[in-house]
Amino acid sequence: MDLNYTDEQLAFRQQVRVFLEAKLPKALSSKVKFGKTLTKSDHEQWHAILNEKGWLANNWPKAYGGTGWDAVHRHLFEDEMTRAHAPRIVPFGLAMFGPVLQEFGSSEQKDYYLPRILNGEHWWCQGYSEPGAGSDLASLKTTAVREGDHYIVNGQKTWTTLGQHANMIFCLVRTMKEGKPQEGISFLLIDMQSEGVSVEPIVLIDGEPEVNEVFFDNVKVPVANLVGEENKGWTYAKFLLTHERTNIAGVGFAAAGLESLKRIARTEQSKGRPLIENPHFAAKIARVEIDLMAMITTNLRVISRAAAGQAPGAESSMLKIKGSEVRQQINALTRSAVGCYAMPFVSEELERGSNTLPVGPDYAASVTGTYLNNRKLSIYGGSNEIQRTIISKAILEL
């Protein structure tokens, strides 16, 4: 048992710090720090900077242009990125689709798609959930019917995050109606510019159009866009879900959120003293910080097992639940901390191109929006109810 990083790991962390200090544009880190929505070009700019350094694909093997880092190095990198308020790497192409393709794709597919993820030519989004298939993903109904060397795709996907920026979508589609629902699903790649694809934004309760509905109306998709075997898509989807979970605890976000909460609580006043000196409020901060400290170690325990070659299984469900709860608590405390200045509705959509003055302190502007938006943390990627079911079945064998 040794809780310390090795000298090599510490040197690596220092290297990341120096890089971020030099290369992270202040305009981007300031947006992240104040919870502003990043534009498509903000994301593209940051991806290009990381790609130039060779650090964009931090969970890919070197052979595909990745860093080849183990889980501990990835964790150190992600942690430093979050502390520096760097934009998060958009996960759909890099963290989700890339690893699936590397594992199950043909060599032609790998040669074509992987470089385009790295150079930004393709912006991927995820076509999983449907209006009738959320927690019960296997009940999905979007169909792909083979006609010659094409599939004809019909149906609808929903909750497609940042789909408005994407030009490619990886989809789970139904290619067989017989048998168990899981057995008739295929993993299909669709060009969003194809005829018959349309995207409708969904405005969320924070007023931002972060997610979308994607409609497919007789969309022709070349058979060459099938990943792996027909009707084996569920296996690939499950593989992807474990990759989606590598940074599932979001400890970096929690730590950054806690730091921001403390900063705000030092500025806000309660009865003429800094709010952070109020014992009731301080106790609430302390409770969540204590929880976070333990969670950081739980996270590292799972990570170091992963670095030793053991794929995280149901442990990632545990990290997802605890991680989302801690972050949501921090968001709620931050909302409380700003008092009456949580009340103004700040819409970035409306702000753009208008001259409205900010209301209240600058740190308060995005606090309610972030609180509302992060209710999603316990809903998406398999709701916390689903995660608890996984734990009770896979670990407790109940």
Binding site: D136, S139, Q269, S270, F281, A332, G339, C340, T356, I379
Partner: protein, 377 residues
């Protein structure tokens, strides 16, 4: 012991519920959020004509109600639809202070409030006062026969639509002292008064109010100079009944929506309401709403009584409503899943409004501490 409504109140409840149901669909609420006042003048006039505003004032003040239970009844109905009408600001805070300490001329405005032709706002809280009623940093000094006010008032709800503002200012005493606070009735058009108007997460609108050498004469003073704290406290107690009853109405609608959704939404081949984990959580929601209802009844029953008992119930109820409101807003979104996160579905507005209740008139934290001071320590 009798927890039933009187016949008159039952009639008012039925009429008001029908009226609000007609006037507030989710689409209408969303349209109002974009409007310049944040509410509809026609609906406001309709409420006045139904006698809803009059029900918030005593007979002595020209109304026909005004007791804690009248307030609770009206605001629970408003809450059920998430109505953004500024009744709390115009009638309870504005009208309430006029009724408590206004002179004959000032009290005459209550008639216009009850008719629906006058809007008011209370400009009291300040950027760093954090719910503390006596912490007033805005200054007033005498200048011959006039008073001159300077300061910054934070998130003044309904200020943009208000014809008259009531502004608190300190003429004397330490920053957080209960003595030395005066209230002034000021026309919204007065020179030196600047409003920065914005929409609220809860619906409705508010403004940052800057007072830059605002000069008024002695006829603007409400009550005695430096002696306004008691009236402020009483108005806030009555406003707490209103906002807590509003929250209770929100909770009832949210519960109904969520229960319906659990029955309707199918996953894994059955309605998700058949899963025990959701059944138990929904049962907890029900239990907490009953607690919230009892707390509102407690407060409504004591708000017209003596001060110590009243203020103990103000803090107890506002604390409980704050905590339960957060739990119910969060649980309802969670149990809905993705659809609960969307602006289009009606839960969004109601849940946000419920969350925002904890940012007005003191949050759960503030009232916990205050309750400890009043009743525990």
């Amino acid at each position: 012991m009798n927890f039933d409504l009187t016949d008159e109140r039952q009639m008012l409840q039925d009429t008001l519920r029908r009226f609000l149901k007609e006037h507030y669909s989710n689409e209408q609420i969303k349209a109002l959020a974009q409007s310049s006042n944040g509410y509809s003048s026609e609906t406001w006039t309709g409420l006045a004509q139904l006698g809803v505003i009059g029900a918030l004032f005593s007979e002595q003040d020209g109304g026909y109600g005004g007791a804690g239970f009248d307030l609770a009844l009206v605001f629970e109905e408003l809450g059920r639809v998430g109505a953004p009408d500024p009744l709390l600001d115009t009638a309870i805070l504005g009208g309430g202070i006029l009724a408590a300490i206004g002179n004959e001329q000032q009290k005459a405005l209550i008639e216009s409030i009850i008719e629906g032709s006058l809007q008011m706002a209370l400009a009291h809280a300040e950027p760093q006062s954090r719910y503390e009623l006596a912490r007033v940093n805005t200054t007033v000094r005498g200048d011959g026969p006039d008073f001159v006010l300077n300061g910054h008032k934070a998130v003044v709800v309904n200020a943009g639509a208000a014809d008259q503002l009531i502004v608190s200012a300190r003429s004397d005493g330490e920053l957080a002292s209960q003595t030395g606070i005066s209230l002034f009735l000021i026309s919204a058009k007065t020179e030196g008064l600047t409003l920065q108007d914005f929409a609220l997460v809860s619906g409705g609108r508010a403004a940052e109010v800057q007072l830059d050498n605002v000069r008024v004469d002695a006829s603007s003073l409400l009550g005695e100079e430096g002696e306004a704290f008691d009236a402020l406290e009483l108005a806030h107690a009555r406003a707490t009944v209103a906002i807590c009853a509003d929250a209770l109405g929100l909770m009832e609608t949210i519960r109904a929506l969520t229960t319906d959704y659990l029955k309707m939404r199918k996953q894994f081949g059955k309605p998700i309401g058949k899963f025990q984990v959701l059944q138990h959580r929904m049962a907890d929601v029900l239990i907490e709403i009953e607690q919230a209802r009892s707390a509102v009844i407690n407060l409504a029953g004591h708000v017209d009584g003596e001060r110590d008992e009243r203020e103990k119930h103000v803090s107890a109820t506002k604390n409980l409503i704050g905590n339960i409101g957060k739990m119910i807003a969060e649980e309802s979104i969670q149990m809905h899943g993705g659809i609960g996160m969307t602006e289009e579905y009606e839960l969004g507005h109601l849940a946000k409004r419920l969350i925002m209740v904890d940012h007005r008139l003191g949050d759960a934290e503030f009232h916990l501490e205050r309750f400890i001071d009043i009743a525990v320590a």
